[in-house]
Point group: C3
Chain length 362, copies 3
Amino acid sequence: MNAREESRTPAAPAGHVSVVRLPHSWFILCASRELGRKPVARTLQGTPLVLFRDEAGKPAALLDRCPHRNVPLSLGQVRDGQLQCGYHGWKFDREGQCRAIPGFLGEPAAKARCAASYATREQDGFIWVYSTPGVEPTSEPFRFPLLDAADYTTVRRVLRAPGTLHAVLENTLDVPHTAYLHGGLFRTEEKRNDIDVVVRRSADRVEAEYVGEPRPTGLVGRVLAPGGGVVQHFDRFLLPSIAQVEYRIGEGSHILVTSAMTPLSDYDTQVYAVATFRLPLPRLLLRAVLPLAVPVALHIFRQDVRILEEQLKTIQRFGTETYASTEIDVLGPSILRLLRSAEREKTAPLDAVHETRLRMRT
Amino acid sequence: MNAREESRTPAAPAGHVSVVRLPHSWFILCASRELGRKPVARTLQGTPLVLFRDEAGKPAALLDRCPHRNVPLSLGQVRDGQLQCGYHGWKFDREGQCRAIPGFLGEPAAKARCAASYATREQDGFIWVYSTPGVEPTSEPFRFPLLDAADYTTVRRVLRAPGTLHAVLENTLDVPHTAYLHGGLFRTEEKRNDIDVVVRRSADRVEAEYVGEPRPTGLVGRVLAPGGGVVQHFDRFLLPSIAQVEYRIGEGSHILVTSAMTPLSDYDTQVYAVATFRLPLPRLLLRAVLPLAVPVALHIFRQDVRILEEQLKTIQRFGTETYASTEIDVLGPSILRLLRSAEREKTAPLDAVHETRLRMRT
Amino acid sequence: MNAREESRTPAAPAGHVSVVRLPHSWFILCASRELGRKPVARTLQGTPLVLFRDEAGKPAALLDRCPHRNVPLSLGQVRDGQLQCGYHGWKFDREGQCRAIPGFLGEPAAKARCAASYATREQDGFIWVYSTPGVEPTSEPFRFPLLDAADYTTVRRVLRAPGTLHAVLENTLDVPHTAYLHGGLFRTEEKRNDIDVVVRRSADRVEAEYVGEPRPTGLVGRVLAPGGGVVQHFDRFLLPSIAQVEYRIGEGSHILVTSAMTPLSDYDTQVYAVATFRLPLPRLLLRAVLPLAVPVALHIFRQDVRILEEQLKTIQRFGTETYASTEIDVLGPSILRLLRSAEREKTAPLDAVHETRLRMRT
């Protein structure tokens, strides 16, 4: 068994059609500030990993199992930038190489005594880990846009959602359920409009543009679009696990909510949500409005979590998913197709864009 | 996969010899008064079902999984006699046909968007559901006898017993354990009599008649048989899941306890017990005696539940049942044979009755 | 299925390389004083057993499942030296033969109504049970040495450790982890010495002799070796499950800690620890010192339990063990080889002793 194989937990059972395990992909495993002097244990796609910082402060990620007696390395300590197991004191460097065996008079380094190691990046305040161990990455992690742009404000939240990566991605980018599940909160069943949706699919992403969406009314409308203006709304999925919702209203408002998802296991997804926005409000007023908006967003998220949980329970009870879609399930089926290609490492040419249109009542 | 197949949870593991799943059979899923304006979730033989009332108040039963995104329909609402899913608001009628998809401009009804539906009956104060979906029943539910007879009193209780349908049925109709497990309560080990048992087996039932059973003594005897008289005692099993104990003592007393069992899952059985009786007591005295008799019956039931639980744990720990029977295990083996025929949908001619005799000490 | 086969729970999953099930072996199931008038339920290698005393007070062990309806016999009562099931009152003698069936007019004894029975011994204050049912033992249980020797004191403790029999045995006899996991307690990382280890392997045991180990210093040294003297240290494993640590320091101190392990299940090991020792201390002073030493020993044991628990969790999460050993893992690999031979009932000639040497820093 080679290092790559042994690091994988047993495959998902057949019939769970939206379970994927993505190789050669970058995922956020923790925030930069969470990784200090102590090792941090995390799970990625069912595989236990341990994160620590080497002597230069650079993050390192190893399989969280001592090659000697299979105790989690995350129970140990970081000493001089190496990770020391808590059972017999074996020490490992950032490449997973064994550097010390207390009591042993021979050479500690040996192939059988290596812990599998994963490439890491520290970027945008997050620790990213590459999902295939022992290889040089062929890509770089996603960059969150506009983090440093003038006049933009950023709010970060880490959330946890039950369900496959696909189920959580689809839910995040799904429009029709908002009128029903979150009905009354930001869309209402009563006042509905027929609008056009333009869908653009390419090798590593799929995007839906909602054309002709009405401006929000009431207080929200007055805050976001005091001077009127056209509403532009995009929902995007980018491989391997980025869900992005973008709104522009007239000249003043630009809201971008990017969720980088981490599949902790087949049915447990961590969401690193980053909201970046520019609103036509004085900064002081914005500071006053924000504490009102965050609880509303979290309330919506909790409603989604409850539904995802019930969906997951039902799928596990029946042993399989059987989804019947209509064309207004705009992105879900395309996201699954992209995830499956990424799982099989088959990707289409990057430049081709396939565009389709449909109408829905929203 | 067709509607019938997909509604079944995975088959029971091999070795669990008394697990059966009965097709084309009626089971009680709830009492009439439990089904009001809200949908009710129930499980039948491992399959999650949702019950609701249509516009005419008639009960309907669907598979409890929205065909769209597999959320339980029981989390939704009943609107105008249709069941609406809580996630995207899809609506289903009593046949499981999709009648509305919010936001979708096309025709909602489509074969792939149907929820499997189950025939229902409302009878004797219970909601009965047919265990095979999408078909016209070939039989009608069991009718509880004497519910409306003059001078008869009825007491109902819903109980829950761990164990396979077979294990609970056998326990309910088993005589030998009463002298031991419930010893002192209504039979005693000391005063024992040899009696004859006549066993009659036919295509859909098996009955044991106990001949020569002595009259009860003490207070119970004075209440039930103040003028003496012959004791007649029958224990009956009727397919698919009815256990019936009948006593007649002289002219005055007639007691009939009918338990309609519902296999919620392979090892979890719901018991809808209906006791109907005529006693040689003035109605007022009967009212006074009843509150004394019910706790005794529940105490006996709890002793049985404890034993059934331990039996189940042992069977699951060993991974199989290995029962060694004697002829005084009068009904258990015949019940299992009938359940298995019903599972395979093989039944003998209805009119043949096979009669045997044995002696036991009771 | 014969008696031997049916008494085994399903085999351990593949990949768990150190799981063994040992036939024809003696294990302690309880202390003598734990087995009184009531039956005692115990598990041996995953098989539920019931212990009771016959009319002569001799311990008996049966499979803990009534052959009639598979209720645990341990829920019943001992009557006149026979074990009576709590459901229908069937009675079994010490051989597992059925001796009474209340209500049944025929002969109770029959092959199909036998409970599998296991040979027992009562020795050194423990009840020992032979792991293969229905056979005459070909060996006798281990005898704890020096229990009755003059000037020796004995302390007994029953402990429980998560992990396979092999993992717990290796941990008990492993020297290198003591310097690290229990560092500061009785060895320290700073003052280290290179010493010789002589390893002797034979058909039913493996022993490591540590040559040149320094005398303990500080208070412990003054208690154990007030007059100096050579340190002799042996660690031994004896089939099927005995771990023994022996220290002699000069003429005065002799400490022998014998742990008889019982594999309750594949990953749950009971430890019957017996410490027997002679120290160069007046008896009164010894009485004063002992209450200080026991908490230290239990503290060390708890540190080991925590590590064994994490090791077990990791192995179960990954679905397999992958151990990389060095030569200072002195006994572990040999113990596993002996356990596997015992599992396959293949043993080498008893008289051959294979001796090797190595050096380690301790």
